[in-house]
Symmetry: C2
Subunit: 208 residues, 2 copies
């Protein structure tokens, strides 16, 4: 016996189920992040996953279900880098660490970033609750930490919420608008340059 945990019989997944559900979620991420929820079709996702449409619907009950599963999984990934910012660390390195982690997510998971951006752009109909719940709670808590650093003179006097917004926008820009960045630069997005630039920016900004 290897596993039998939850009380409500979680039904262990077969090999095929595991593989196909993963393929569908990956395909859904690809398609939803490009066209948004309404602009994506089940046929697109099914084809990208190497399945037929009815076969896809054997694993997920609806288009909504795929999208919902992607979004809930995403929220955790989204909050983690901010959670890692410690109140008892050195303020500037802590904040720069957050910037670096967030930029690294744009580099490694641009599709996830675009899925999130698409959802927000379209009014966040499916995650508005999480934004004013979980997300707001976490941000408010971290904003207080930043405020204390600010008042203790460890960093400059600064609006903590806008500081956090600026970290989000600057780092996500390289994933969400990468087509524009590439078009303007005439080459692939240079994440190393971006990191240097952002470190320079936040070091100068935060210095008391």
């Amino acid at each position: 016996m290897i596993m039998t945990a939850s009380p409500a019989e979680p039904k262990p997944l077969t090999r095929i189920q595991t593989k196909n559900r993963a393929a569908i979620l990956d395909a859904g991420l690809e398609v939803f992040s490009t066209y948004g929820f309404r602009g994506s079709t089940l046929d697109q996702i099914a084809t990208a996953a190497g399945l037929s449409k009815p076969n896809l619907l054997y694993y997920f009950p609806s288009k909504e279900a795929i999208h919902a599963e992607l979004l809930t999984g995403l929220l955790t990934t989204w909050l983690d880098p901010l959670k890692l910012m410690r109140a008892d660390g050195d303020p500037v390195p802590e904040l720069l660490g957050y910037v670096r982690r967030k930029l690294e997510m744009s580099r490694q998971f641009p599709r996830e970033s675009r899925l999130f951006a698409n959802e927000i752009l379209q009014g966040a109909p499916r995650i508005k609750a999480a934004l004013s719940g979980e997300l707001k709670t976490l941000v408010d808590a971290k904003a207080q930490v930043i405020s204390k650093w600010s008042k203790a003179g460890l960093i400059t006097e600064i609006d903590p919420h806008h500081l956090i917004f600026s970290i989000w926008s600057l780092t996500q820009h390289y994933a969400d608008f990468d087509v524009q960045v590439r078009a303007v630069l005439g080459r692939d997005v240079p994440f190393d340059e971006a990191e240097q630039y952002l470190v320079q920016l936040f070091e100068k900004l935060l210095k008391p």
Copy 2:
């Protein structure tokens, strides 16, 4: 006689044509900026414009045509604030002026900002050419100006392209992600605070 300019007989518009075309473009902006091109339907746009679908198609030949007209009109609006940055002005006020103009556009034309963001997010299929053409040319020119300021010691040593990207992302964030900003803050987007914050940020960043 009041007007007869172009050589190819531009056909003067009726009062009704002027009014209905404007209503359609406004409705199209509303709908496209929320759902993206593929996620929007002619019925949605027609209803928002107070017309029937066939009536809408009497004024525009296709869904594409409405979207195209919105995008081309948008590009000019998008480039203007950057064009206004003068090489012969004081560097910091010139750059801050650009920041302020761009933020003001987010405040006054959030739908246009979101329409643009949607198009870029979805791979910019309809304006990629303009991005690596017109936009790149203008940005490269202004980047050179910034480089000269930098080398002359009037502002800090800085990567001009990333500086421009950061102005874009920071200002547009308040329009494109306004749902998120409002959810986290628990109130309407405070553009005055945002302006103060951005001025603080760029003044500290640019100081040599």
